[in-house]
């Protein structure tokens, strides 16, 4: 660094190079999906370094669990990934059921499967809309919300809530399905295939969309595995790993479905994988709705839960990846420790690797394609 002659005060040029600037994206930014803060080190428009700063939405969910009874804590998990509350609830309830050594009745399992798959579709729809919006396509988001609305209506009819549903209880279901539940789900699933085609006509072959997503944020299979990335992000890199197949839970072992995978692991592949996952979820729903077993919806577990001392880790395939719960019981009515393995948090680790060397516009696409929910990252 050359020394310029100065008028009195000496100029301290920072450690930055000549045309490098630090750009602070967030926590208030239109496309960081909540309160993620990204510090970007830019050379012109090219990213040469990035740092994710999280914690703006930290509410101490895991700590709260230690002071609530097992049932009381169940609604809290809905507030983690608040766009996929049903999946969160399923993971928690199944974990506690394992801890108790019981299982939900078959009817409850099937209804849980249907609702969770609908939730997966809703979550992917929200992702698709906002991701497209990030890349500058203004229209898909409204179509996506139109279909998501149908799903939320089913949730509302079923349990009275649309977003943070608290649909399941430990041991089964609180509510019996309402009259016309099957027809509603069936009607939605039958129409939905055409709707996905509609989104694909807007985006899949669009030159600008392909240009903006192909080759952007590439994550190789080795990197993905090494970083612990799960869910569609992992599958887009070519690793065929889906807990629904690998360690079936709920009623997934009864249904036929494919696990869509792609090879290169760029943003475009993740888009394709999620689109195909929506189609597969629809097929699962259609299979499940055909014969819902009759019978009880709640296992006999009693009013006060006192699991035997011990620990259990159980994970499910949430829309965003592997959602795991690690619960330690000391034999009292309150858990000794609850630890959540949120998929968004782990997937966000891949951000730096994907963003390095890309442009500012790509950063937005990469944040979008990771499909993070800050409620889950920060808990």
């Amino acid at each position: 660094m050359s020394e310029g002659r100065t008028n009195g005060s000496s100029v301290s040029t920072t450690v930055l190079g000549a045309d490098e600037i630090i750009l602070n994206m967030g926590p208030q930014h239109p496309s960081t999906h909540g309160v993620l803060r990204v510090k970007l080190k830019l050379d012109g428009e090219r990213v040469i370094g990035s740092e994710c700063i999280i914690g703006y939405l930290h509410r101490g969910v895991e700590k709260i669990a230690e002071h609530r009874s097992y049932q009381q804590f169940a609604p809290y998990v809905d507030r983690m990934d608040y766009v996929a509350a049903v999946s969160n609830g399923l993971g928690y309830c199944e974990t506690i059921e394992r801890l108790l050594g019981t299982e939900a009745p078959p009817r409850a399992k099937v209804v849980r499967t249907i609702l969770t798959e609908l939730q997966r579709i809703a979550s992917h729809l929200l992702w698709l809309g906002t991701h497209a919006l990030d890349i500058g396509a203004l229209t898909p988001v409204f179509y996506c919300f139109r279909e998501r609305e149908e799903i939320l209506k089913i949730f509302e009819k079923y349990c009275g809530a649309r977003l943070t549903t608290h649909a399941f209880r430990i041991g089964g279901l609180q509510y019996e399905t309402y009259d016309g539940f099957e027809q509603d789900v069936k009607r939605f699933c039958q129409n939905f295939d055409k709707k996905i085609d509609e989104y694909e006509t807007l985006l899949t072959e669009n030159r600008i969309w392909v240009g903006r997503t192909k080759g952007v944020g590439v994550l190789t299979a080795e990197d993905a595995v090494a970083l612990g990335v799960t869910g569609p992000v992992l599958r887009a890199s070519g690793v065929k790993w889906d807990i629904r197949k690998a360690m079936p839970y709920a009623a997934y072992d009864q249904y036929q479905f494919e696990i869509p995978t792609r090879g290169t692991g760029d943003t475009y592949d993740r888009y394709i994988v999620r689109m195909q996952e929506m189609r597969q979820s629809r097929l699962i729903c259609l299979q499940a709705i055909e014969n819902i077993p009759t019978g009880a919806i709640m296992a006999r577990i009693g009013k006060v839960l006192k699991p035997p001392p011990g620990e259990v880790y159980h994970s499910i395939e949430a829309p965003k990846g592997e959602l795991g719960y690690y619960v330690v019981s000391d034999g009292t009515t309150q858990p000794y420790r609850v630890r959540v393995r949120p998929p968004s948090f782990i997937n966000l680790q891949a951000f730096d690797k994907m963003a390095k060397g890309s442009l500012v516009a790509d950063v937005v696409a990469i944040i979008g394609t990771l499909d993070i929910v800050l409620g889950e990252v920060d808990r």
């Binding site: 496309s31 500058g136 080759g215 937005v364």
Partner: protein, 442 residues
């Protein structure tokens, strides 16, 4: 009509009057383009758009303007206050100045400069300083990035758009906006028939010049928050907005004048009259359009939920009826008046059709990335526009030297240009998605 008015008035008073009318009407018009944009967007996105202020949101622009006027005006702490103040004014001022040379009809034009087109291009190229200086003065990284993007983008696409215009100019043989339209009248066809490729180049270039999607990188919401406008609020922000929409009207007017026949109505060569009168058959179309609009509004009147909305809707219907009457009355007036009023109608109709195209693109396409934008400009549009200019010149020579019909020779050359375009587009596919040295813009 021209001999009735003294020359002094014609020379000095009328242009000033036209200028005042334009400056007074333009903000209103821009407001209603925003409403049109929101309504079109809503229609394409399966929703209704503004519905509350006035029937079907018809008074929304006025409410928006009032809101922006009374909002607090914030100047960031370390901003360059003078530049911060000047930039939006520059942006709007240059856009308004460009209207001086735009002919809204054979009569309604402030000044018929003999370098009219170049004047408009020059003035609108000054508008970029409003963006660049505003972005710099805000003292924010987002604003600065927006300003840099804007500077690079404008310089790149101005060339292509200008060369696109040249192809039409070769056929017109003049730079005066008025003579260009008259040349199209003499040829009997709009220049879009002669140089469709040139029109396409200008369309893309003009979208990029006005920073509209899919080229809205300088203000890309999801990346740069609002780009160069990030730190602006209230009335200054409204000025930027006004400047942007006024600029859209300017580029639409240029395209209308050069490619779409200016104030000429469609089928200029068709001259059948109503039997027994001097009124041409096609000249009643504007009147009928307004009549239909009035009927449509009248049908909507009883459906309005509130009395005041019913009244406003009825007033709108009345306005349409009056306009229909004016259009009809113009048919019977002297030829000068008739040409002036109908010319203005057709001109504005074409301008709005062009702007509708802008909106359509905006809601259909994702945004380009910066390197892709530059590649499209430099590696596709500029070579194509050069080829197009050469092809057009050859077509002119061929038709003049060998007596080939102008349209025929033009079309042959345009087909050849299209072949080049396809080759260029295919070549554009090849480069890898990212090269380490692009996208700097320098």
């Amino acid at each position: 009509m021209n001999h009735l008015i003294p020359t002094a008035i014609q020379q000095y008073v009328l242009p000033v009057l036209y200028g005042i009318v334009i400056v007074a009407i333009l903000p209103l018009l821009a407001g209603y383009i925003v409403l049109m944009e929101r309504k079109v967007m809503a229609d394409m996105q399966a929703r209704l758009g503004p519905m509350r202020v006035g029937p079907h949101g018809l008074l929304q622009p006025i409410a928006d303007a009032l809101k922006l006027l009374i909002k607090e005006d914030i100047i960031p702490e370390h901003a360059d206050r003078f530049m911060f103040w000047m930039a939006p004014v520059l942006s709007v001022g240059m856009a308004l100045l460009a209207y001086a040379a735009i002919p809204f009809g054979p009569v309604f034009q402030v000044a018929d400069l003999n370098v009219g087109l170049l004047f408009i291009l020059a003035v609108s190229s000054l508008g970029i300083y409003g963006i660049v200086l505003g972005g710099w003065a805000s003292n924010s990284h987002y604003s600065l990035l927006g300003a840099l993007r804007s500077a690079a983008q404008l310089v790149s696409y101005e060339t292509a758009a200008g060369l696109g215009l040249v192809s039409a100019l070769i056929w017109a043989g003049s730079l005066s906006m008025k003579s260009i339209v008259e040349a199209q009248y003499d040829r009997g066809d709009w220049f879009i028939a002669y140089v469709p490729v040139g029109f396409f180049i200008y369309l893309v270039g003009s979208i990029a010049e006005t920073n509209r999607a899919p080229f809205d990188l300088p203000e890309a919401e999801s990346e740069l928050v609002a780009g160069y406008m990030t730190e602006y609020s209230g009335f200054r922000w409204a000025l930027y907005f006004l400047g942007e929409y006024a600029n859209m009207m300017v580029v639409a007017s240029i395209a209308t004048t050069l490619f779409l026949g200016g104030w000429l109505r469609p089928f200029v060569r068709y001259h059948d009259h109503f039997p027994g009168t001097s009124v041409e058959l096609l000249d009643i179309v504007p009147s009928l359009i307004f009549l239909f609009a009035a009927a449509y509004c009248l049908r909507l009147v009883p459906r309005q939920p509130v009395k005041i909305q019913r009244m406003v809707m009825a007033a709108v219907a009345g306005l349409c009826l009056v306009l229909s009457g004016v259009m009809a009355a113009a048919l019977l007036a002297s030829p000068g008046v008739m040409a002036g009023i109908h010319g203005a109608f057709w001109f504005l109709a074409k301008v709005f059709a062009y702007i509708y195209g802008f909106l359509w693109f905006r809601f259909t396409f994702p945004r380009y990335r910066f390197d892709q934008l530059m590649r499209l400009g430099w590696r596709f549009l500029i070579p194509l526009s050069l080829v197009n200019v050469i092809a057009t010149a050859v077509a002119v020579v061929v038709s003049e030297e060998w007596g080939l019909h102008p349209l025929a020779s033009a079309l042959i050359m345009q087909v050849l240009t299209l072949g080049v375009a396809l080759w260029l587009a295919g070549r554009g596919e090849e480069p890898a998605a990212r090269e380490p040295q692009v996208a700097e813009g320098d």
